[in-house]
């Protein structure tokens, strides 16, 4: 299983931390310090795998962010690299050309996406499209769900890529939502 996932910048500032085992607060801080020092000290074209205590540390740098994943000894390191890559792809799809600022200002969304992809230290869903759909449905639910209401109201706003767009929904319901295009936006979303 995976033990923890950390995202930090080139200056060592933490942007996301996900722990899959219960660890005391002080221990967490120490681990974060160790990881940042170890990973930031690595040469640019070196191997992406490290050994730390009894865990394997897989790290990869994407632009200005380091993704650092700790796995147990029997796990497959190359697959862990793929896990990191998949997560970046999910973030990219959601935010549209994701950059570090997106993750800083919308950190809770980054967590929600992660929680749809990994669970309890294991991969939860292997299909990108399914994860994306789930996130979007949950987001819609967050916008509109109130106790007692099962139908979504007619109009809703979506924040996408920095522009507020307004679209009309002609039909909606829990089983499927079709949206006609606003001026710049067209989308089709399904709830599972």
């Amino acid at each position: 299983m995976m033990r923890f996932l950390l995202l930090f910048s080139r200056q060592g500032k933490l942007r996301l931390q996900k722990w899959f085992t219960p660890i005391p607060e002080r221990e967490k801080k120490k681990i974060i310090r160790d990881m940042t020092t170890m990973v930031l000290a690595r040469q640019p074209r070196s191997c992406n795998f490290l050994h730390w205590k009894d865990l394997k540390i897989i790290y990869k740098r994407y632009a200005s962010l380091y993704f650092c994943l700790a796995i147990e000894n029997q796990e497959n390191e190359l697959l862990a690299l793929e896990v990191i890559h998949r997560y970046v792809e999910l973030l990219d799809k959601y935010f549209g050309n994701v950059c570090e600022l997106d993750i800083i200002f919308n950190f809770e969304k980054a967590y929600f996406i992660l929680d749809e992809f990994l669970l309890g230290g294991e991969i939860q869903e292997t299909s990108k499209q399914v994860v994306n759909r789930c996130i979007e449905s949950s987001d819609m639910l967050q916008e509109y769900y109130c106790e007692g209401e099962t139908d979504f109201p007619g109009t809703w706003r979506k924040y996408h890529g920095g522009v507020y767009e307004q679209t009309c929904i002609l039909t909606c319901g829990l089983k499927g939502i079709e949206i006609t295009a606003g001026e710049e936006y067209r989308s089709r979303m399904y709830c599972i």
């Binding site: 191997c47 793929e82 200002f105 809770e108 929600f112 294991e122 939860q124 639910l141 769900y145």
Partner: protein, 794 residues
């Protein structure tokens, strides 16, 4: 979804703070505002406040006051608040906090919520931070969800079950049937979850493993479907269909096929197919191939398949990607024990990897290279390893050095090569070698008597060039001390002759003695070496005398003690100096409980009369421990008991080079009890055998001790020479043996040998003494032991 504007404003404010102090100020204000808001009644901004708090927490500031708010928000009916509440619970609460128990009820309710996203929140939180009690409480719920829900929930429930099994092992039984049925699902997410759950159950419980072996055909079927099927947009990653699921299934197959012929047979074809069909140009393909190789090597696969697997690893080794090379070496390390020859074929590539820039790759290459060293390739491998040692990163140095030593010891083609190699390592990485290297090397050198000249020349040269590597300097000093005469003779077959004068040698040793780089132990070596040279050189004995007397007032206690003893050797016991400082005999390998280097030094010290430290007897009940005490005390098993300096004797009083039974001798000594009958008389005969008689008479007695005299006489027809007595007493008693009157017993009792022994017994324990008698008669040596249990009373 609209962003939380208050949150983003706060983030902006924090980021624009120019100093740490300013940032702290902003955060404190915000936290105060958040705390105030928490205390207020429900307003619309609760989720924003909690989100702000979570951000502050991620920056490293304390946020424990948000825990109760999390609990409240989880119970809220609004989804937005639940979402942030659960996120807060996962970040701020863990199973050690008391507040975590409070959310158990909320989780239970949410697990049966009508909306699947709310259910998923509860499942996610349970899988992330569920404590053992929560798991026990909610396990039946999870089981229900595993069976009767949509696939979205099923996949989450499966991973939740995995977490529960990890926390509470006994509940594994509960989930086994549901897990079995999940394998029939089509949804990849659910399949993946099911495979993970089955893996977890099988790893924990061998009986469950047996039961799940029946699923091997199903798994093989699923795998085949993934490998053969065409392009599937949902799951394709660079040409491989759902690599995550493939890897998990391969891992499960590995566990099921281990040690089981039938299961291994069932998967042979599949593994061959995966190994050959998977595209290895991208990392994903290599990930699947890697897992396949690991599986093949672990189960009882047929030999063709194994060869295929090792070939794949060989291909990995030649890959440009460092990561692939790294994992290839990791896998080869695992099989180097079993498939040694197969791995040997790739030795060249592995040795090349020693020169790689990357530290992780270097480490793996070093371990693998050391494992591949064998008698045939030792010379070439050692060249490479020594080259590596001179340029390797610091953290690998000691590992490399000890690996080289082991390899050299096992496969050295010749003694000279061995010594050369060790010297090379000491010169390059002397600071990182282990402590027992020095005595091991010394022992090796004494064993190769034909190379003494060569060795001492080489070491002398090394000493001249660099005195900072302590191990090297210690060995060099010892050799110069021992074989200084060979050094001064100047000629040597193996190396070029070089003229070394006595002054040069003494200069070198003095440099070591005075250098601030020398450790105390090294200086001890140097001083002893200087002393030894006094018998091997002719002209500069006075210089040595002066050096030794200077150190008689050295601050270092060890050096001072030695210098004082050596001084005494010069003054009072000059007649014995030659004998004491003679050439060391060959040290036997693997004598128990000591280091050779220590013992040689200690033994030389031991014979000094000024410091007669008596051996202490061991109570028969604990011979083993006490043997070690004894050995430690004396520093070596060579000199088990204190022997007296024999007057004018030519027998070296140096360590007896008996074998590893030296420790055994000691035990024998203790084991052989020969009680003599008590005679309540001032003089008692303690030993009478083969014509040699030993009597003990009491001279005087004080409150805390007594003085006795041992008298020996010889009633045989032949002379006895080299007669020595050794004695041992109980622990708290102190023994002091004065010099004997002589060491030869002429025949027919013509003369006697007497020796006075002072015993001090402050604790008034029962006085016992064990005496060992050794002598030579008619050309053969005799030895015997006698125990004196009671001393004559007045």
């Amino acid at each position: 979804m609209s962003p939380s504007v208050p949150l983003q404003e706060m983030i902006r404010a924090i980021r624009s703070a120019r100093t740490q102090c300013e940032e702290r100020g902003v955060i404190q204000r915000e936290c105060a505002a958040i705390r105030a808001q928490f205390r207020q009644a429900d307003n619309g901004g609760r989720s924003h406040n909690l989100a702000k708090l979570l951000y502050v927490h991620m920056l490293g500031y304390p946020a424990h006051f948000g825990q109760m708010e999390c609990v409240r928000m989880i119970a809220s009916p609004r989804y937005s608040e639940k979402r942030v509440g659960y996120l807060g619970a996962m970040m701020l609460l863990d199973e050690k906090q008391d507040a975590s128990l409070l959310i158990t009820n909320s989780i239970k309710n949410d697990l049966s919520h009508s909306n699947q996203y709310v259910q998923s929140l509860a499942l996610c939180t349970l899988a992330c931070m569920g404590s053992a009690e929560m798991c026990r409480d909610l396990a039946p719920e999870i089981d229900r969800l595993l069976r009767a829900s949509n696939s979205y929930i099923k996949k989450k429930a499966a991973l939740c079950a995995v977490h529960i099994v990890r926390k509470v092992h006994e509940l594994g039984e509960l989930f086994a049937p549901a897990a079995r049925s999940l394998l029939a699902e089509k949804n990849h997410g659910v399949l993946h979850g099911a495979v993970v759950l089955i893996t977890e159950l099988c790893e924990r419980n061998p009986e469950t493993l047996e039961r799940f072996r029946k699923t091997v055909p199903d798994l093989v079927q699923i795998m085949k479907g993934l490998v053969i099927s065409g392009y599937s947009p949902e799951h394709d990653v660079a040409g491989v269909s759902d690599p995550f699921l493939q890897v998990r299934i391969l891992r499960l197959l590995r566990i099921l096929g281990r040690n089981n012929e039938a299961a291994s047979d069932a998967m042979n074809d599949l593994l061959a197919q995966v190994a050959t069909n998977t595209d290895s140009t991208k990392t994903v393909g290599n990930a699947v191939l890697y897992e396949t190789v690991l599986t093949v090597l672990d189960i009882k696969s047929e030999s063709g398949l194994r060869v295929l697997a090792v070939n794949i690893l060989g291909r990995f080794l030649l890959n440009n990607d460092r990561n692939i090379r790294y994992i290839a070496m990791t896998s080869l390390q695992r099989i180097v024990g079993t498939d040694h020859n197969a791995v040997q074929r790739h030795r060249g590539t592995i040795v090349d990897c020693l020169k790689d820039q990357d530290a992780s790759v270097k480490r793996r290459a070093l371990e693998l290279s050391l494992a591949l060293v064998s008698a045939t390739n030792i010379r070439s491998m050692m060249k490479e390893l020594l080259l590596f040692l001179s340029s390797c990163p610091l953290e690998l140095r000691s590992q490399a050095a000890s690996g080289i030593f082991n390899a050299a010891e096992r496969y050295a083609p010749s003694q000279r090569w061995h010594i050369d190699t060790i010297l090379h390592v000491l010169t390059t990485a002397g600071g990182d070698v282990r402590d027992e290297t020095v005595p091991n090397l010394i022992q090796l050198i004494t064993n190769t008597s034909e190379l003494h000249c060569y060795t001492v020349h080489k070491l002398y040269r090394a000493l001249l060039s660099d005195i900072s590597q302590q191990s090297l300097v210690q060995v060099a000093c010892w050799c110069i001390g021992e074989y200084g005469d060979l050094l001064l003779r100047g000629e040597c077959q193996e190396t070029e002759p070089v003229q070394v004068t006595e002054d040069d040698v003494l200069d070198a040793l003095e440099t070591v003695l005075q250098s601030h780089m020398s450790a105390p132990a090294t200086r001890g070596f140097a001083l002893t070496a200087t002393m030894k040279l006094s018998t091997r050189i002719t002209d500069n004995v006075d210089r040595i005398r002066s050096i030794v007397s200077i150190y008689g007032s050295c601050i270092d206690v060890e050096l001072q003690q030695r210098a004082v003893e050596y001084n005494a050797l010069f003054k009072k016991y000059d007649h014995m100096r030659a004998a004491v400082l003679e050439r060391m005999p060959v040290i036997e390998k693997n004598s128990p409980g000591h280091t050779n280097g220590e013992s040689t030094r200690e033994a030389v010290k031991e014979v000094q009369p000024a410091k007669v430290k008596q051996a202490e007897t061991l109570l028969p009940q604990q011979p083993a421990n006490q043997v070690c005490d004894l050995l430690d005390l004396l520093g070596g098993s060579e000199e088990p008991l204190q022997s007296n300096p024999a007057v004018g004797s030519t027998v070296p009083v140096l360590p007896i080079s008996t074998s590893s039974t030296a420790g055994g001798d000691l035990l024998d000594l203790l084991g052989g009890l020969e009680p003599t009958p008590l005679t309540p008389a001032p003089t008692v005969t303690v030993y009478e055998k083969s014509g040699v008689t030993l009597t003990l008479s009491r001279e005087k007695q004080s409150d805390s001790g007594l003085t006795v005299t041992l008298t020996a006489s010889n009633s045989t027809d032949s002379d006895i020479s080299s007669f020595t007595l050794q004695a041992a007493v109980p622990k708290s008693v102190q023994l002091h043996m004065k010099a004997p009157s002589g060491d030869s017993l002429p025949a027919r009792g013509a003369a006697k040998v007497t020796q006075m022994v002072v015993l001090s017994n402050p604790n008034k324990v029962n006085l016992k003494m064990r005496i060992r008698i050794s002598y030579t008669s008619q050309g053969s040596a005799f030895q015997d032991t006698v125990q004196v249990d009671s001393f004559p009373e007045h």
